[in-house]
Amino acid sequence: MQENEFEKKLQQKMEVLQLQPADEVWQKIQIVVAKSKERKRRFAFFFLLCLLLTGGLLLTDTSSLFNHKTAVSLKEQPGAARVEQVLGTHTKPTEQLQPEPNNQLSAQEKIITDNTTAETAVKQNNLVNKNTVSPVGTVKLKAKGRVGSNVTMAAPDEENTAAADIVEVKKQGAIISADPVIELKNEQDNGIPEKQATVLVTAPGKNEVTAPVIAAAIAPGEKECIEINNKKVAVDKNPMKTINKKNWGLALVFSAGGSATGNGYANKSLAADNYGNAGNIPGSNPGSSGNISLPSSTRTGIAFSAGVKLFRNVSARSKITAGLQYQLITTFINTGERIYASSAQTRDVLFSQGSIKSYNNRYHLISLPVGFSTRIFNLGKNEVTLDAGVVISRMFNSNALNFNTVAGMYYSDRSVFNKTIVGLSAAALINLNPTGKTPFCIGPEFYYSATPLASSGMYATSHYRFFGIRLQKNLTK
């Protein structure tokens, strides 16, 4: 009982113990919380970016898997693409696809039984990179090149996916295998997108040979079956035709230029109409009819956007597009000195009226552009397309200053801004290097937000505007 009384008394006394902390403590807390918010925001942005990139890569990778009906042929460069079999320390080139004039079929098999070592075999093959030879029982050859004739290789039960069909050609205890389809290369001169397959030749427990070959996607045509090492191989006799069944494409989009939002209260009649809604700061009396101060005019700032865009062909000329991008829009205004205030009643940032400092208003937006792209004319070999659509944006952060016309002060208050913004964008893009390995488009872009920056106050009639140059790099054709 005595014990409890003592504790009770202590508790009562301690409950009223209050100490006044130093002012710096709150400032430090503000800084740490702000940094933490920033970190979270960066992490979210980075996560989103990773997600987009992963999605984009998956889309590009899986698009080739959807093309099951696309036959793959081997084209040979003169003297290129050979697959070697290595048995123990003896190398036996077993299969060689030889070039044939006029793109005619040729797929021959050669069994060479001379007792050369793996290294010798490697040296004999002038396409082999010597650096890839491993001294301990494994030989990796990189016979890289194009097979000249139109040869489609396919398993007996499947007509297509030839790159995978080189798999499991067995001969004398060795296994020749290949990864299904590794990579879609850029279009060659003859308009055929190439695929690269890696052929792996192994002698179980001993050696292995990796010999990448280039395969090109063609339309399935008339085929003829031949046998190579007891393996049926379908051979395409028809001239090659390109088929493109990829429905969706992916592009990286980057724009940079100037941005503006309009002058807001710089228009005096507008200020007179709106000053009562300009927000409250200490010392101001928004409802009074005193003198009205006007803020500085808003000047153009720099802006940029970056993101990804998906497109889908809807006709020979037109595509529909959708994307996701980050936009930064900035403007400049003149202010006086910064006023530091720690009272709970004040906004976090205050500036007096004046023209001592140039303050940079920044607006960060995440945008979802949806629209269409249509070819309008050709400029020589280059297509000129019109890209236009609606952009739905979310303003997730801003440090922009508002103005209180009665107190004649600038203050920051993000809550007055409209968070969801609908706008229109248009760009005229010229497709440079359309048949090359890195096709990209460049051209002027214009964006205008139909939704004003804020529903009341200084920016009630201001709209985001952007004019700049867009660079678009198509990752898929």
Binding site: P21, Q30, A344
Partner: protein, 185 residues
Amino acid sequence: MDQRQLVKDCIRQKPLAQEQLYRHYAPLMLGVCYRYTKSLHDAEDVMQEGFVKVFLHINDYNSTGELGAWIRRIMVNTALNYLKKNKKYRAEMVFTDTPLHPVTDLNPQVNLDAKELAELIRQLPTGFQTIFNLYAIEGYTHVEIGQLLGISDGTSKSQYARARYLLMEWIGKYSSSKQQRYAGK
């Protein structure tokens, strides 16, 4: 401002609401942190860390409970972590179990004010100070204290008994010297 609205605004990370919350609770929470540390500067550090946690995790706050109590719990946990992390305190956070608990017949009148009592509590060795604060003032049980500090409840009991004995002695001495001072005047 309505507490619910204040919490909602803090969840939306409105600086004004955060400052209001801080201004309202900071003096009381500094008092809490002060009891666990040996200097005001350390107490401010603990409180700063605690408020950062409050603002970052305020969406975890269950609005049916008392906000002050929730913040206080965060402050106590932050203080305990601070003591464990800080070299200066960690060396003194050694808890030994003694089978014989000191018993005192002293029943001093606690006629000291809050600040004086807090100063006496802060004179205790850090281990005693922590357990005394947790048991006598925060109202934790010895089992809970054991879990918080990673010691057995028996150790917590014996440490508390020794802390209480010391403190009662000091309160008695301090009160009598205070009385003598007043009588001399």
